[in-house]
């Protein structure tokens, strides 16, 4: 019996202690009519050997790259030590650290994580993670509504340059609470928000700005932050954590800095893994700490005065406050945070800055190389981080399929969200992309374009 240790002797002896005739009688409180479905469509059990073969065959069918897709998930080098340590059973198979004395390893690590994230974002406080970047934004919006007591409205303005899926997720999650998300409607200047955009601010509780934005462009975050604050709105920053090693962190935006910062933690040592598990992070000003959702770890002392770590401010959470909690979140993404903490410790500020710079450098050279092809041009000119929108002579969706067939994952089709951008492809090159990868991409794209032109 897989994973069940009982011998027949155990079973007999245990049933005798219980005073039950057989295993079936342990279910005698379940009405007879509800029991005994044959489950006939389920397959037979497989041994570890057989399931290994099955999974190897299936995983070998999928194409992983070279990968020039970004759009919210990024393939970076993950040092070997990160997952060797993360999958140690003591991290991997532990529960949420409610019993602090028996969880000091995870708790100290989370405290270190909070310290790293506040360092990276230049914010006062960090929680111990949420599910992913998009759902973290939803939580940030709910938090801003609670925190901004001066605002009378439940309107939140969302930059049109925010990742459209983040917008969709935020709507699915906050929609039922009477919160209205409105787009900052303004003509974009070169793929970034314009000062005019902020005219619509009046009375909004918060503004959501992404840096770098969905198109890879850098926003004028100082201007946006100051204007939002001037209109009494809180600023929610959605940021890429690797970019923060290079770019000005949200805590230093404008005169007073952003109020709440969230984003996708995946670039920090978490594999692409077909979309998850990743982790969302959330940082804020000290004044809003009691409005934060999710776990927070604090340092304290034990009864001998030895320093130790524990979950704190639990009166915000569902297991204490029930219907009055700041969120329903319980389990978060602890193991991903373990990986990210080890990753950041290994890279350090300088290593992470180099990763960011290498990504930027590779994306610039990717863009230059591809734009030597006839009909391919960058849609925007202004500064970008590690993504760029390329305009192609054909629909991006067709080109993506053609290149995938030869093993190149070309990018993200912007026509998914905007029919006017059907010919636009969002490309990304992280530090893992080599000159050869770029040459291969260029060659494959050239072949497809030439074929189609003929």
């Amino acid at each position: 019996m897989p994973f069940i240790p009982h011998t027949q002797e155990d079973i007999d002896a245990m049933l005798e202690v219980i005073g039950a005739a057989d295993l079936e009688s342990l279910f005698d409180e379940i009405p007879v009519g509800l029991k005994g479905h044959p489950l006939s469509s389920l397959p037979e059990a497989m041994s570890e050997q057989a399931v290994t073969r099955l999974m190897q065959e299936r995983s070998a069918r999928d194409v992983c790259g070279p990968c020039f897709i970004g759009a919210g998930a990024y393939r970076h080098h993950i040092p070997a030590a990160v997952w060797e340590l993360t999958t140690r059973g003591e991290f991997y198979s532990a529960y949420t650290p409610y019993q602090a004395e028996a969880s000091q390893g995870t708790l100290q690590l989370l405290y270190e994580f909070q310290s790293m994230m506040t360092g990276l974002t230049a914010m006062d406080v960090s929680n111990a993670s949420l599910y992913d970047g998009a759902s973290a934004l939803a939580e940030a919006i709910l938090m801003a509504i609670r925190a901004n007591r001066r605002a009378s409205s439940r309107r939140v303005l969302v930059a049109g340059t925010l990742h459209p899926v983040y917008r969709q997720v935020a709507e699915s999650i906050v929609g039922a609470q009477g919160i209205v998300l409105e787009t900052l409607e303004a003509p974009l200047r070169d793929g970034a928000l314009d000062a005019e955009a902020m005219a619509a601010l009046d009375g909004a509780a918060a503004v959501v700005v992404q840096q770098p934005n969905f198109y890879g462009r850098l926003e004028d975050v100082d201007m946006l932050t100051d204007q939002a604050h001037g209109a009494g709105a809180l600023v929610i920053a959605v940021v890429n954590p690797v970019a923060m090693a290079l770019l000005r962190p949200p805590g230093n935006w404008g005169r007073d800095g952003a109020d709440i910062v969230c984003g996708e933690g995946q670039p920090l040592g978490v594999p692409l893994s077909s979309g998850g598990p990743y982790f969302g992070f959330l940082c804020a000003r000290q004044a809003f700490v009691r409005q934060m959702p999710g776990r927070i770890v604090g340092r304290t002392v034990d009864l001998e005065g030895t320093p130790g770590y524990t979950l704190t401010l639990q009166a915000r959470e569902q297991h204490i406050r029930r219907s009055k909690a700041t969120s329903n979140i319980c389990t978060n993404q602890g193991l991903m945070v373990t990986a990210a903490t080890i990753y950041m410790a290994l890279l350090g500020g300088e290593g992470l800055r180099r990763v960011a710079l290498a990504c930027h450098h590779n994306t610039v050279s990717l863009t230059e190389q591809l734009c030597t092809l006839s009909g391919v041009r960058p849609l925007h000119q202004g500064p970008c981080f590690h993504e760029r929108v390329l305009e192609l002579p054909r629909p991006a969706s067709q080109i993506i399929e053609r290149l995938a067939a030869v093993g190149v994952l070309a990018g993200y089709d912007l026509g998914r969200h905007d029919p006017d951008m059907a010919n636009c492809l969002l490309v990304c090159a992280t530090e893992l992309i080599t000159g050869d990868d770029i040459a291969r991409y260029r060659q494959a794209l050239e072949a497809v374009l030439r074929e189609e032109a003929a």
Binding site: E29, L34, V301
Partner: protein, 494 residues
């Protein structure tokens, strides 16, 4: 006890794990200065060995399933098979970008589709979506679908969700997130939902009821079919919280009980790791009438090919809950586990989880501990109350819980459900041996003897862990949530 300085405190300016980072590039003209950060981010400056040693040492300060019996009620801390971990981390799955085209992703999609089908069959539901990233998000999806169902029918007056008083805190918190009022339903003396109170509460304002079955009291709701009829007759829907699915896996199906929507904690029932607080996975299953409202994306099979269903295919969906497809890596672990169990293995999970719980309950009762529902069969978990010990010896559930750690057992869930005074909710799971359960009983008896000899001794426990009992009041009052350069480590108290 061993004090491990923070990783920051072990660093020196300029020290680096150089092999981990790429070479240096100039910033160049691409990014103007005003966008750049003034100095490096405040992160540790340490060597690779320092990192490996530090986090290995920290890991050794944790209890975990791999190192200890972990009978945490309602958490299903069963063995997490290593094979599941290894196979979910095969390169084709691990390095695959979530936006890679369907045409080159058929391998992973076939696994997800298979699991959707298997979960639907074993729970008796018409369809499954794997996107919710944890149990609480599965709950959110479930209640949001109930809301979408009523609104789609123009039934807008339903503004109330019923929740038994023994429910997990996530239930009422979720209902509020979905814009509902919460009404609590009491439990009767035998641990079942009070049917009369339920009848009173039902009405045209009822959107639905959230139930855990077996309940958090560790017993099966015996009148579930009758309850389902009552709720449906009132126009409400039934939501099944899958926290305790391990108790009935392969034995009885929520769909057959009349539930319209369920969430499953794949990190409980399907044995994916808890990871020190996640990632989980809160797959949901729905009855036919909720199929149009499932969260997207969902994998569909068309002939021999798989493709993602999105908003275009399901225009009435409650939408997306994650940027991508949910916690795919967790789902793959659950898939490997489900394939290793197979048809015959599903029911065995419930058989042996229930055998272990009833055995442990009977042994503790024989040793004189108060089982809260002695007249009931335990499900996969049960409650004992230490009310007597607290009153006579001054030894509370908290004291027993902390002292158990010294004996090498993780504490059971304490003080939940809130209805039972001084309670421990104990869930041994099917993967533990009889010897392990006997050892736990012995520890409980020893601890009670210690309390009889010297009640104060327990108040000080634990004694042998990396720290003694922590000052949680101070943690919440004098917030210390991050390290800053130049702040001395906390001073030892005089």
């Amino acid at each position: 006890m061993r004090n491990d300085p923070l990783i920051f405190e072990q660093g020196r300016p300029g020290r680096r794990a150089a092999a981990q980072a790429p070479g240096d590039f100039p910033v160049g003209a691409g990014i103007p200065d005003r966008f750049l950060r003034a100095g490096p981010a405040r992160l540790p400056e340490v060597s690779e060995l320092q990192v490996v040693r530090h986090y290995t040492r920290l890991s050794q300060k944790n209890f975990s399933i791999d190192t200890q019996f972990y009978p945490l009620g309602s958490c299903t801390m069963k063995y997490n098979p290593r094979g599941c971990n290894r196979l979910a981390m095969l390169p084709g799955f691990l390095d695959r970008h979530p936006w890679a085209p369907d045409s080159v992703s058929q391998g992973v999609m076939s696994c997800l589709h298979d699991l959707q089908e298997m979960l639907a069959e074993v729970t008796g539901m018409a369809g499954v979506s794997l996107t919710p990233m944890a149990g609480a998000q599965g709950e959110f999806a479930g209640v949001a679908m109930i809301r979408a169902y009523h609104l789609a029918r123009g039934d807008e007056a339903r503004n109330e969700i019923l929740v038994p008083d023994a429910a997990h805190g996530t239930n009422p918190a979720t209902a509020v997130m979905c814009g509902y009022k919460v009404r609590e339903i009491p439990t009767d003396r035998d641990g079942d939902v009070d049917l009369e109170a339920l009848k009173q509460a039902l009405g045209p304002q009822t959107a639905g009821i959230m139930l855990t079955n077996p309940s958090t009291l560790g017993v099966f709701e015996r009148r579930i079919t009758e309850m389902a009829e009552l709720v449906h007759k009132a126009g409400g829907l039934l939501y099944y919280d899958g926290a305790n699915l391990n108790a009935i896996l392969g034995k009885a199906r929520p769909g057959d009980m009349g539930f319209d929507v369920i969430h499953m904690n794949l990190h409980k029932t399907f044995s994916t790791p808890h990871g020190g607080g996640g990632p989980g996975s809160g797959a949901i299953g729905v009855s036919k009438r909720l199929l149009p409202h499932m969260p997207v994306p969902v994998v569909a099979r068309e002939g021999e090919a798989y493709r993602w269903l999105t908003e275009r295919d399901l225009p009435q969906t409650i939408g997306r809950l994650s940027a991508f497809m949910g916690n795919t890596g967790v789902v793959l672990r659950a898939y490997v586990y489900a394939r290793m169990l197979g048809r015959e293995g599903m029911g065995r999970v419930a058989d042996f989880a229930t055998l272990n719980a009833n055995y442990l309950m009977c042994r503790l009762r024989a040793e004189g501990f108060q089982v809260w529902f002695p007249q009931r069969r335990a499900s996969h978990e049960f409650i004992i109350s230490l009310k007597q010990e607290a009153k006579e010896l001054g030894a509370t559930a908290m004291d027993f819980a902390k002292r158990l750690l010294d004996y090498g057992y993780h504490a059971p869930t304490a003080y939940f459900p809130l209805l039972v005074p001084e309670c421990l909710l104990i869930e041994p799971t099917e993967t533990e041996t009889r010897e392990e359960l006997d050892g736990f009983v012995e520890a409980m008896v020893c601890i009670r003897d210690e309390a009889r000899r010297d009640p104060d001794y327990l108040k000080q426990a634990p004694y042998t862990l990396p720290v003694r009992r922590l000052d949680e009041v101070r943690a919440a009052k004098e917030l210390d949530l991050k390290w800053l350069p130049g702040t001395p480590a906390l001073k030892e108290q005089e």
